[in-house]
Amino acid sequence: GDDPDDASSSGNGATESTPSVEVDEALAARVPDEIGEDGKITVGSDTSYAPSEFIDEDGETIVGFDVDLFSAVAQKLGFEAEFESASFDSIIAGVGSGRYEVGVSSFTINPERLAEATMVSYFSAGTQWAVQEGNPEDVDADNACGLSIAVQRGTVQADDITARSAECEASGEAAIDIQQFEGQDEATAALVSGRVVASLADSPVMAYAVQQTNGQLELLGDIYDSAPYGYVVPQAETEFAQVLADALSALIEDGTYAEILEKWGVEAGAIDDPAVNPAG
């Protein structure tokens, strides 16, 4: 196959065979009945977040490393994962109301979310900054006061940058001009065009954006604030959550996990101890 880094730009993220996974009957038996009924797990996902989850060139297929990974988890349990596009805002509520059985959309685990749902960690992502090629404006992530900076609305980075701006103001400097966009693609476009001087996003997303813009951008500084991504299941379904965690562990053990992450070039975020509601 192609170079995995290139997976989506060459458009074969979907067609490239994902490693086939054997069913683990013991795990499958522990899946709660109401989920097992139809042999499918319905997944809600905001599919405008490459490379985690996005729409492939055929305009229908949902692809991305989140998709591959959760599909493998589902296969382990003898199920098929059925992804559905949803608006990011509505996924957690949708899981709560039973509209989706699981939410998989690069949700960073944090206390607010844990108050609404049960989560299973499966990946570790941090925040990554990016600037224009050569950093013409000499941006320093730790001293961004007064600059224009783009983030995607509703992400942890939006909170991050808001907090930084507040600090700036507290120390008597100019606030950060925060531009919140609906999608990371628009935030990135704003950076490319120079409307903002920097953008920050989840590390895999930022890496992908830099790659897609053909050298117009570069990564700035290191990944920080690493935190786990988690699958979202209804608050009460701790049992099911544990099954998901165990299935993940099995995938890590048999190497499928690493294989998938490598395929998408995000192996840096691999974890080795998936857990239900991990502390902080």
């Binding site: 490459a50 729409i55 492939d56 060139e57 305009g59 608006s87 509505s90 693609d185 990135t188 476009a189």
Partner: protein, 317 residues
Amino acid sequence: MPDTSTTPAPPEQIRAVPVRHPGRWIASAVIAVLAAMFVHMLATNEVFQWDFMVDNMSSDPVLKGARTTLVMTVLAMAIGILLGIVLAVMRLSANPVVSGAAWVYIWFFRAIPRIVLLFFSASLGALYSTYELGFPFDQQIMDLFGFEGDWRFLSLDGNDIFRGFVAGLLGLTLSEGAYAAEIVRAGIQSVDPGQVEAAQALGMSRGKTMRRIVLPQAMRVIIPPMGNETIAMLKDTSLLIAVPVTNELNFQLRAIGSRTFQVIPMAVASILWYLALASLLMIGQHFLEKRFSRGFGNRETRQQRAARRARDVGSTH
């Protein structure tokens, strides 16, 4: 003093030197320069990536998306207009409860942004997981009298109904109904009341008068704003992203944008697509208008003549 005596009465046509309008020429020149600047920009700015854009805007999924968009527009308008006719008739009802209810409906759905409405109709599944038809406050009444059970006779799974296409269609239709109602009502009221009177004097029933006399004439007044509504609806299908409906034009164009991070070319692509589709609908409207102007304006009445004259006067000087 006049030269009446010196000029022989001329039978030949008057060929007068027209008044010069330098302002008009300046305006034309300014417009031409602006247009040239615009073309210049399009041609020379590489942000647009024309090749990439053209390739992607005619890809298969985008074409399918355009089809979904058209289908959604047509369906939402068709059902919305039916709903609008019902609401308009209700609004004109002599019964204050009926007309009040229509008023509330129209007020409510006209005041809410469609994007909020769409988001809401997509979230209906979250309000109740099952939708049941039954008596209001049944449970409470039952409790009050110490009974068990409920009075509900039809249950549907909310999450199965309110998703994707159907949720989008529901939101758009409910909203369109309110707008269409006002248009239909204005159309009905625009018909000369003498027409209703004439039909009644001939012994025609209210229903027949409405169907045979009032509505056909109202169509002339209804079609132009309804054409605008249709174009507005076409554009508002771009809001289906709030549901989301994934096989729709705007979603598909944006999906390419978020996959490739070429946001501006795809925004241009959507401008071009919507221009094309809207122009298509405008042409359709033109023919409908022609169809329903039968018997109007073929020959001018005395009043129309007076009107046209004044217009002519207005534009020649």
